[in-house]
């Protein structure tokens, strides 16, 4: 019984005209598919990797329940602090009581969607040498890890975001956005926030190619993320010049503060949209940086062991 010989090779697409710029066929005469097919294949690959990221995280149910419990306890604590801060009709940072409560509960769920915690998957694979398997695939590792991370975020929306928001809505007097555009903008903003967070985490992990042990850089990233992203307290509580510095000089507010300000309608629609554009700029900056650093990292790669 023949093995590969019996496998029908993909027939060349009869509708595609021969492309003079296409790569030459390989040794077995398999033609390279046209550019449009390749783009469609790449998109299908991205979607499949995203789905895999979703399912990977969906397997850890007990961890999810434990995490949810923590989020809700913390949410209740933070909410009571915010209620105190905004008592007597005060509007710290320009937020109303209801907006601050929404900031807390939407934020508790969002922590795990954008993932501000220490992520060391790539660094661990560099350290163990398993990163070779990533490099032996026909997909750029930056693309495949980004796809998996979006899948992880999607899983976190279902597993970690909905429940705290439901608790907030059920037990608190919470701000409900009234502009329909807010809902769309919030979804876009959360996707971009996830990508900003991923880009930063990936960049920190890339340092493993030089350092091998990335606990230091990861801890630094987590600390900065906790303090500067708005997950402890809204950045708008700080003096305005500090805010300007953080929003434009660091990616952290784009990870957390911006999607939450969009959700609680802290600013008018146009300004909200502008902040989402700022997120997009950070996504582009960080991904370009990841690509440049990864290129250098791979060039100097010496796989550990073996």
């Amino acid at each position: 019984m023949p093995f590969a010989a019996a496998c029908p090779k993909s027939a060349p697409d009869p509708h595609s005209a021969p492309d003079p710029s296409a790569d030459p066929p390989d040794r077995r005469g398999r033609p390279r598919p046209p550019a449009r097919r390749r783009a469609a294949d790449a998109a299908a690959g991205f979607v499949a990797l995203t789905g895999a990221g979703f399912r990977r995280y969906a397997t850890y149910r007990q961890a999810m329940v434990a995490g949810l419990f923590t989020n809700i306890v913390f949410g209740a604590m933070l909410a009571s602090i915010m209620l105190g801060v905004a008592a007597d009709g005060r509007t710290p940072g320009g937020y109303s009581r209801e907006q601050l409560v929404a900031f807390v509960w939407v934020g508790q769920g969002l922590l795990n969607v954008v993932y501000t915690w220490g992520w060391r998957e790539l660094a661990d694979r560099v350290r163990s040498g398993d990163v070779t398997a990533d490099l032996l695939r026909p997909v750029d590792p930056l693309t495949s890890y980004a796809a998996a991370d979006l899948g992880r975020a999607g899983q976190a929306v279902l597993g970690r975001w909905i429940a705290p928001v439901v608790v907030g809505v059920a037990f608190y007097d919470i701000y409900v956005p009234h502009r329909p555009s807010t809902y769309v903008l919030f979804v876009v903003s959360v996707v971009l926030a996830t990508l900003v967070s991923f880009g930063g985490r990936y960049l920190v992990n890339l340092s493993a190619f030089w350092l091998l042990d990335v606990r230091g850089p990861v801890a630094l990233w987590m600390l900065a993320g906790a303090l500067l992203s708005g997950s402890f307290l809204p950045m708008r509580f700080l003096p305005e010049w500090v805010q300007w510095l953080l929003w434009c000089g660091t990616p952290f507010p784009s990870i957390f503060q911006i999607p939450l300000d969009v959700a609680v309608e802290r600013t008018d629609g146009a300004l909200s949209a502008t902040t989402v554009l700022l997120q997009l700029v950070w996504v582009i900056v960080l991904f370009l940086a990841c690509r440049a650093v990864q290129r250098r990292a791979v060039r100097r790669l010496v796989v550990q062991g073996g």
């Binding site: 019984m1 023949p2 093995f3 590969a4 010989a5 019996a6 496998c7 029908p8 090779k9 993909s10 790569d23 390989d26 040794r27 077995r28 598919p33 390749r38 294949d41 790449a42 299908a44 690959g45 979607v47 499949a48 990797l49 895999a52 399912r55 990977r56 397997t59 850890y60 163990s128 040498g129 398993d130 070779t132 398997a133 490099l135 032996l136 695939r137 026909p138 997909v139 750029d140 495949s144 060039r299 790669l301 010496v302 796989v303 073996g306």
Partner: protein, 338 residues
């Protein structure tokens, strides 16, 4: 540099890889020292061959394999795999080769095997029909059905290796690189894996390059054997040629009731050693059958027991590893097709 022959899948000429090792030479001072892991390897592997790549630890096997798969840049020399220069064309090459590193995993740890395979189909953009057919073949031949829905982290090593090999074959690679595929496996798993690989190799569809420390892998699978030591090829040819070159011979071990006063002389037979005060004599056969010697011994009488020992590859290779690299390898002789 020589041009690769037209049917060469892998062609290396003067391939080198140096690593810089920093050594502590003082309290704060460290000096960089260049160590060459691969030191001028010339190798041509043609379509459909199964080649065993062996050598002691640190001989440069894995380094060579990493250069061939495009994850390590050569320091010098020329290298093409499937007509491509591996490192600059790594992504294109990835579609045309399959790689299994015995101590690494390319499967998704948290997902069932079936999911990993489905994902690989998309990653490699394999048409659904091809994928289904190849998976079906592997399922049957490697008995995957029992654990296809088990998450990879729960698989035994033997099961995982079967999964890894399947994963490496699903996109129909032209070359399959296996780095110590049988490491850590039990006897039964090793046997099953070898049978599968032998079958795959015999079809001549996929070129197989395999490194191993298990010489039974080589005996079973590889008509052609490349031995490296200190980063150089010290033997390239068949197993038989290796035996011939290093003078490994069949031996006849004879146990006697009483020692002979005079050992018999048979053409083509030498006395290798005498043990146990002459109660045991080991003869080495220089290409002649054992029959003549045994008939002669039977005439003399007092024969208690006779055993014929086949040449032991382990012994040859151990000798090969321990001797200093003196002479460069002889030119590769055409391997005998399986």
């Amino acid at each position: 540099m020589t041009m690769p022959p037209h049917d060469a899948v892998i062609h290396a000429a003067g391939l080198r890889k140096d690593f810089t090792v920093k050594r502590k030479t003082g309290r704060l001072r460290r000096t960089a020292q260049s160590v060459s892991a691969v030191d001028g390897v010339d190798l041509t592997i043609t379509t459909g061959e199964t080649v065993g790549y062996i050598g002691p630890n640190g001989a440069g096997k894995s380094t060579t394999l990493k250069m061939m798969t495009g994850i390590l840049t050569p320091t010098g020399g020329a290298l093409t795999v499937c007509g491509l220069e591996p490192v600059p064309r790594r992504k294109q090459l990835a579609r045309r080769i399959g790689v299994v590193f015995g101590q690494r995993s390319q499967l998704w740890w948290d997902l069932p095997l079936r999911e990993s395979f489905r994902l690989l189909r998309h990653v490699y953009s394999v048409p659904a029909a091809d994928h289904a057919h190849r998976l079906e073949t592997c399922r049957r031949m490697l008995d995957l059905d029992a654990f296809l829905d088990t998450p990879v982290r729960q698989l035994s090593l033997g099961q995982r290796m079967r999964g890894e090999i399947t994963a490496a074959l699903l996109h129909g690679p032209e070359v399959l690189f296996l780095d110590e595929p049988t490491i850590g496996l039990d006897v039964v798993s090793k046997h099953a894996l070898r049978a599968f690989l032998a079958d795959l190799g015999a079809r001549g569809d996929v070129t197989i390059v395999l490194t191993t420390h298990d010489l039974a892998d080589i005996e079973r699978l590889c008509p052609r054997l490349v031995v490296v030591d200190h980063g150089r090829v010290v033997h390239d040819g068949t197993l038989a040629a290796l035996h011939e070159r290093y003078g490994s011979r069949r031996r006849v071990v004879v146990d006697l009731d009483r020692p002979y006063d005079d050992l018999p002389h048979v053409p083509g037979v030498k006395v290798d050693r005498v043990e146990d005060d002459g109660h045991r004599v080991v003869f080495a056969l220089d290409g002649v059958p054992a029959g003549g010697l045994i008939a002669r011994l039977a005439q003399l009488g007092g024969l208690r027991d006779v055993a014929v020992q086949e040449p032991d590859i382990e012994e040859v290779v151990a000798r090969l590893y321990t001797t200093e690299p003196a002479e460069p390898a002889e030119p590769a002789e055409p391997a005998v097709p399986a």
